[in-house]
Amino acid sequence: MPGLLVNLLWLVGILAEAAVVVCALKKGAFRRYLLLNLYMAGLLFVELGRYRIVSQYGLRSTQFIYFYYYSDAILTIFLYFALCTLYSHVFSEMNAERYVKLGAILLLAGTALFTYAVVMQSTAKLLTHFVIELSQNLYFVGLVLTYVLWGAILKLRETRARLIQLVLSLGVYFSLLAANYAIRNLYPPLSTVFIPLVQIFGVFLPLAWAYAFWRLPEEARLVPARLAVIPR
């Protein structure tokens, strides 16, 4: 079984995930951000399942390894589609939903094909390799898509505070994980510090989303940046 601190962070994470769904339901935002909330609800159930498996079989068990990575791949696909719905929200006034859907399907198919091309050399357990690699590749696709969405939000001078909070927190979450991974591989002695940080990042995303649903009403607007160049 993992240590006390690990369990404590895990519990906080599970509670934060439940808080996102509860806050969204309470504030009437569940259907508006349906896939985002379904992802969080799915994550909550998966986390409970993971906890049960760890308590029953242990952290190093094959059961946990398989359950973790297969559920992770499904969750990453969910997160990918949730991110695509954020695109639909940002581009809603441009009637670009059709093109967002087309792009999302094409990108998912392209990523899956690319992943298959990479792992097809594996002689054993091709499916496991494929599932884990697809999850990793989709993670990086999500990272790039979030930055592109940040750019679009800035360019279009988006003012919806809740939407901005959801996108920014997702961007920070993706960036923290990528930076953490890169740093701990560049400086392996620091792994003991950086590996536990991943758990804290896992708590950050549901907390930020719960805050967005609880504290920021749908009508809340931000003042656009005043740094635009004004011709004289």
Partner: protein
Amino acid sequence: MSRKLVVVFLTMLVLVGAMGLKTVVTAHGDGSAIMANGAGPAPITPYKNGAGPAPITPYKNGAGPAPITPY
């Protein structure tokens, strides 16, 4: 150029960018997984084979004797 072609071009651009970024980030990687959905502890990556003792891999459980590794 039609809008659909623009969408295809942009998706390919994003895919290339994402895989490029992955290459940069994991250039010095030990093969461990980067993604983490949720706050729970991550298990050993099934295909992590670092300098330390080999972890339990779910697809290396053949009954027969292991052959000599070519490297």
